[in-house]
């Protein structure tokens, strides 16, 4: 039986349709049976926008392949649209000849009206796509009629009907989903039974459709051997925190204020109390970081997380953490802005704010994770830097990274490089070690009494000082300390064709798209070298020499060229920007096009 390369499916419906649940189960089943998977939940800003409207559309996209893949795909092989609004949102992404599955029950006159569309929209669909249209709700109700449920309860099982159908299509087993149903609805055996019947009915119905499913089947991947699980960025953050607290035996305060999309980090941490991760849902963004500063002063680990406008609100407090040289980590789950902007969409436009968004001279370390699984390493690295250099660290994630999932090779705890904590290393709080890092002297310790504050510091004791020369010295010293962090970095990894004339640079969540684009360029005969930065401040020491060894430097990022400008300014190289600011991840085809355009610039 032949198998195909990468299959991309999007399931889309109302935000109340349970689309995310279907997507998650499909992902786990695919991963468990050895496919490589990448997912992209694209949920609406309005949690429950009016059903059937375009604003209320919730989607879940999954790419699976037999080989390693790095994005959730861009054009669709299969589109499941549960209502006209969902169709409107996604049809343009469906490949010609792709499979379109629609729920007839939700394609009535009133549904078209709600979506602001004409019924004729479907007219030529059959010419372009393979259309399967069936009454999902009626068939679901029939499937579960043997069980005494209210009609809304029975209707609710329809997402499992869809799941069953899709599982068959991809030649995936139903067993994992059946186990999931049994566990999730343990307390409601009737509901569990109904969901299972619905799942199997969907699976069996698909069998009767006489679809050619060959095109939708993929073989197994050849990933390095080891034990894997699916992990989202947010889950990776939680596991990293629990790893840090259990290793150091020091409790951690996580404090945040609910804001999309970073709130999911708070949800994750709320489950980790036994692991020493304590949560304060603060009254506002400022209180959240200030509580962390208080915890850090007390010798505890501290993490605050936020998104978008929340980062603005934390700026002043970050300055206090810089001057008092206290270790804490701030996670900024970037979203598309400015202001409220597109709160559920992704972007990388907070880079400049992370680097410079404080009054005075207030340098701090800035890192960015490059994939959901990499969030685990990045958070551990952030705390390692915070503790070793006694500094606040900003970690830039984004909406895509936080929610997307990928396989993560479960590490052996002994193999991890974890930080050690030592308090009261020197008698005076501002006595410094070879890294210029001060001594973390904590309250409750006899003979280490000191007072800390935002006023300028002088000498080992950190006495308040208004002296002009001292301020100059301290500004230089704090900057030198942060610049020194680069000495701890691993060397840059050059991917693609290191000998190429073109160097592509990226950072953060675009890793998957850029890596795929570079692979395509190489396949097309265009040599491209590729470096992905994890550390944005200080920049790696080996970046400057590397840049000078390429004729052309391209910087791709989901903003208007913030890193590009920084690279031009720092290294005086004529770097060109590939930028996108539409709230979506890069698409590989557009990247390949942009790289080609820049490569052939002289020829045009």
């Amino acid at each position: 039986m032949s198998t195909t390369d990468v299959i991309v499916i999007r399931i889309t419906g109302d935000s109340g349709d349970g689309v995310q649940l279907v997507g998650e189960q499909l992902t786990i089943t695919a991963a468990l049976t050895g496919r490589d998977v990448r997912t992209l939940p694209d949920f609406p800003a309005e949690i429950r926008a009016p059903a059937g409207t375009v604003a209320g559309v919730s989607g879940f996209q999954l790419a699976m392949a037999e080989h390693a893949i790095f994005t959730a795909g861009e054009s669709l092989d299969v589109l499941v649209a549960l209502n006209p609004a969902a169709l409107k949102n996604s049809l343009e992404h469906l490949n010609q000849g792709g499979l379109l599955i629609i729920n007839e029950d939700s394609f009535q006159d009133k549904d078209w009206k709600k979506a602001g569309m004409e019924k004729s929209f479907l007219d030529n669909c059959a010419e372009h796509y393979q259309v399967v249209s069936f009454p999902l709700i009626s068939q679901t109700l029939l499937a579960v009629e043997a069980i005494e449920l209210t009609k809304p309860q029975a209707t609710k099982t329809k997402n499992f009907y869809v799941l069953g159908l899709v599982l068959w299509l991809f030649d995936l087993p139903t067993t994992t989903c059946q186990a999931f149903i049994a566990k999730k609805f343990k307390a409601k055996p009737d509901v569990a039974k109904a969901n299972e019947m619905s799942l199997l009915a969907g699976y069996n119905y698909a069998m009767t459709l006489e679809l050619s499913r060959r095109e939708y089947m993929v073989g197994q991947t050849s990933r390095a051997s080891g034990e894997y699980r699916q992990i989202t960025g947010v889950e990776a953050v939680g596991l990293a925190l629990a790893t840090l607290t259990t290793h150091t035996k020091v409790p951690m305060l996580v404090s945040g204020y609910p804001i999309t999309p970073s709130s999911s980090i708070l949800h994750e941490c709320a489950r980790l109390a036994d692991f020493g991760v304590q949560l304060i849902q603060a009254e506002d963004e400022i209180a959240a970081i200030c509580a962390c500063i208080g915890a850090a002063y007390g010798g505890r680990l501290a993490l605050t997380c936020t998104s978008g406008p929340g980062l603005d609100l934390k700026s002043e407090s970050l300055g206090l953490a810089v001057v008092t040289e206290l270790p804490l980590v701030l996670i900024d789950v970037q979203r598309a802005g400015a202001s409220t902007g597109l709160p559920t969409k992704t972007g990388q436009s907070d880079l400049r704010q992370a680097l410079y968004g404080r009054h005075g001279e207030a340098p701090l370390a800035v890192l960015a994770a490059n994939s959901p699984a990499d969030c685990f390493n990045t958070i551990i690295e952030a705390f390692t830097i915070a503790l070793r250099y006694m500094t606040p660290v900003i970690v830039l994630l984004d909406a895509y990274l936080a929610n997307a999932a990928e396989p993560w090779e479960i590490p052996a705890v002994e193999s991890l490089n974890l930080p050690e904590i030592k308090y009261n290393r020197f008698p005076k709080p501002f006595q410094r070690d070879e890294n210029l890092s001060r001594s973390w002297n904590i309250p409750g310790t006899k003979d280490f009494i000191h007072q800390l504050g935002g006023l300028e510091k002088q000498g080992d004791e950190g006495r308040v000082s208004y002296d002009a020369d001292n301020h100059q010295k301290m500004v230089n010293l704090r900057n030198e300390k942060i610049q020194g962090i680069a000495a701890s970095y691993a060397p840059l990894v050059i991917e693609g064709d290191a000998k190429a004339g073109i160097l592509l640079i990226g950072w953060g969540s675009t890793y998957g798209s850029l890596k795929s684009a570079v692979a395509q360029c190489l396949a097309q005969g265009l040599p491209v070298a590729y470096v992905h930065l994890r550390q944005l401040n200080p920049l790696p020491n080996d970046l400057g020499p590397l840049l000078k060894s390429y004729e052309k430097v391209l910087v791709a990022e989901l903003n208007t060229g913030q890193l590009c400008q920084l690279i031009r300014a720092t290294y005086l190289v004529d770097a060109q920007s590939i930028s996108q600011c539409n709230g979506q991840p890069f698409s590989v085809s557009q990247l390949v096009h942009a790289i080609n355009k820049e490569a052939n610039y002289e020829l045009l």
Partner: protein, 320 residues
């Protein structure tokens, strides 16, 4: 008997408040009282915000943190909840606590974090050189209100009570013995203690409280609140307040049948509403009621050996 002395809580830092500032008296009262608590200096942390009061931690031989404007309460929340072994004091002013830090104040009170908040209320912005504050009185002339303040002032005690404070008291800088006694009670209270201290800014709001706070005026114009005692005042203790249906009323001592009940929220609210000079100023504990504290677990219960199971909380698979 405590083995600590006043000198254990003082340091050699040069105190930089204006000569004659009420902050000196409060600092002295604190340093006199702290040895009585029997706790080592290193067990205390003074957390302050911005303003003249914010300098206080530098003058104490205890741990101290001079934070940013309005946020001392938020910093103290993180410190105390993660370090329950420490005794945490918040030093704040009327601008710091009630204007820029108003939000954090109400939330630390409602959560009942076990810290002691000392609000130095001088009814003016001193460090920024004389602008009106949220407690400035109507008509008060300041640099930003040359025609007199037109805004209604905020009542810190009413606010604290409404926010759910479990200990609410008031004292004056000019009566250090009473102030010390109240500070000690604030420390003894298990919960968030809120103490408003009328403090004279002799530069920008000189003598604002003299009519009732200075020694010669106190007998006639203040009432020292004592649990279970009538609200008597006057040099001869010949006057009293009585709580009638329509609120407190001034009566002769023998008609003062009301006895102070700090457990009553309603009575505390009525007391907090009394305005000088229509009424004498009640000093002491207005309200005290123990209720659950906001605390967090102090230990890491799980260990590294629990990580492998945590890593596998979601289904894993073996890739061969």
């Amino acid at each position: 008997m405590s083995s600590y002395k006043r000198e254990d809580f003082t340091n050699s830092n040069e105190v930089r408040w204006c000569p004659g500032c009420g902050d000196y008296a409060i600092l002295a009262a604190l340093q006199k009282m702290l040895p009585e608590l029997g706790l080592a200096p290193e067990q205390h942390v003074f957390v302050s915000g911005i303003g003249c009061a914010g300098r206080l931690p530098y003058y104490m031989n205890t741990y101290g943190f001079h934070t940013i404007h309005g946020r001392a309460t938020a910093v103290a929340t993180g410190l105390k909840t993660m370090r329950d072994d420490l005794t945490v004091w918040v030093v704040t002013g009327d601008g710091d606590a009630l204007s820029i830090g108003g939000n954090h104040l109400i939330h630390i009170l409602r959560r009942n974090v076990n810290v002691n908040i000392l609000l130095f209320n001088n009814q003016v912005y001193g460090l920024t050189k004389g602008q009106f504050s949220p407690t400035s009185q109507k008509g008060q002339v300041t640099k930003t209100s040359p025609q007199g303040v037109t805004n209604e002032p905020l009542n810190p005690l009413s606010l604290a009570l409404a926010a759910g404070a479990s200990f609410v008291a008031r004292a004056v800088d000019k009566d250090p013995n009473h102030l010390s006694a109240i500070l000690k009670k604030a420390h003894e209270h298990k919960g968030c203690s809120f103490v408003e201290i009328y403090q004279d800014c002799n530069i920008f709001n000189n003598g604002a409280f003299d009519e009732f706070a200075v020694k010669n005026n106190r007998a006639d114009n203040t009432i020292v609140l004592e649990e279970g005692q009538p609200l008597l005042y006057g040099a001869q203790k010949d006057k009293a307040l009585h709580l009638a249906v329509e609120g407190f009323q001034k009566v002769a001592a023998e008609e003062g049948l009301y006895h102070h009940n700090p457990a009553s929220f309603i009575d505390a609210m009525q007391l907090a509403r009394l305005r000088f000079p229509d009424f004498p100023v009640p000093l002491g504990v207005y309200y005290q009621q123990e209720r659950p504290l906001f605390t967090l677990e102090q230990a890491v219960k799980k260990s590294v050996s629990d990580l492998p199971a945590l890593y596998r909380a979601r289904a894993s698979w073996q890739q061969s």
